[in-house]
């Protein structure tokens, strides 16, 4: 029997009427991230460890431990989301942001990958949540 685990992703794409540079700022400046996503201590430096903080729930501290994996200015940002220690569920996922310039703005692609079968309830809920998060990102990027 194979021990390989089949994982699933969430992919959300949204074309925003802003330059990649403007969206990049909203994606990588901690106070701006707090406005469209969550409180955090993010820095756009590979290897930087940071946390997102939400309301605690039974069995979960409300903290999501993350680590920056890749930073290519105005193009690509990758960070881990969950290090397996925050809850008994052991969630360990990855968020990848890709920015591609278009004629009138930028195509923003968010992929949240690594959900195991036991993470399915969380994946479904996040699938419903990410489109609204990208909508807020677009709004905040426009205000910057």
């Amino acid at each position: 029997m194979s021990t390989a685990t089949q994982t699933k992703s969430i992919v959300v794409e949204r074309t925003m009427p802003h330059s990649p540079g403007k969206i990049w700022r909203a994606l990588t400046q901690a106070p701006m991230i707090a406005e469209w996503l969550m409180k955090n201590d993010f820095k756009p430096e590979p290897g930087h460890k940071f946390q997102f903080r939400a309301t605690p729930m039974p069995g979960w501290s409300g903290i999501t431990n993350c680590e920056v994996k890749e930073v290519i200015e105005n193009q690509r940002l990758v960070y881990t989301w969950g290090d397996g220690t925050e809850s008994d569920s052991g969630l360990k996922t990855v968020v990848t942001w890709t920015l591609t310039p278009t004629a009138n703005g930028t195509m923003v692609r968010m992929e949240h990958s690594g959900f195991r079968p036991e993470d399915e309830n969380g994946r479904k809920a996040m699938s419903g949540g990410w489109p609204g998060i990208l909508e807020r990102l677009e709004k905040k990027a426009g205000e910057a």
Binding site: M38, F52, A54, T55, P56, M57, P58, G59, W60, S61, G62, T64, W81, G82, E86, S87, D88, S89, L91, T93, H112, F115, D119, N121, G122, R123, K124, A125, M126
Partner: protein, 143 residues
């Protein structure tokens, strides 16, 4: 007015939060006991306001998710509601008490039965309930 209070088991800890809300007990009671209203301030659930009713609450946030298994253990309309709360190996009891006051109602929430060593569960419950009760007041105010 309810005088009876749940006595926590010896050696365990409780989280207690009190909040005075500018609403009559009946109005707060509805938000505490109607499933659809509970979903707005607490979690999606299949609660019914019946002694002994077993129900589940589900939550998910940031990709994390969980289920809380509960059972109604006390129900005294407009004054007291208690249910068990079992999740991730932590078994506790949640008791709401409503006491009318001039200008509103004093709501007391006690979650009892925590292992004193489980600081994370205690801290999480304190922070979590503070947020839930804020939302509860908002939901009651809209009703």
């Amino acid at each position: 007015m309810s005088k009876e209070t749940e006595t926590p088991q010896a050696g365990t800890r409780s989280v207690v939060i009190e909040r005075v809300m500018p609403h009559p007990p009946e109005k707060i009671w509805r938000a505490l006991t109607q499933s659809a209203m509970m979903a707005e301030w607490l979690m999606p659930n299949d609660f019914e306001a019946k002694q002994g009713h077993e129900f589940k609450m589900t939550w998910s946030n940031n990709g994390y998710s969980g289920v809380i298994d509960s059972k109604v253990t006390a129900i005294e309309p407009h004054s007291k509601l208690a249910y068990t709360w079992a999740s991730m190996g932590v078994d506790t009891l949640v008791t709401f008490t409503l006491v009318p006051e001039a200008g509103g109602t004093r709501l007391r929430m006690e979650q009892s039965g925590f292992d004193p060593a489980n600081k994370q569960a205690l801290g999480g419950a304190m922070h979590g309930w503070t947020g839930f009760l804020e939302k509860l007041e908002t939901v009651v105010g809209k009703a």
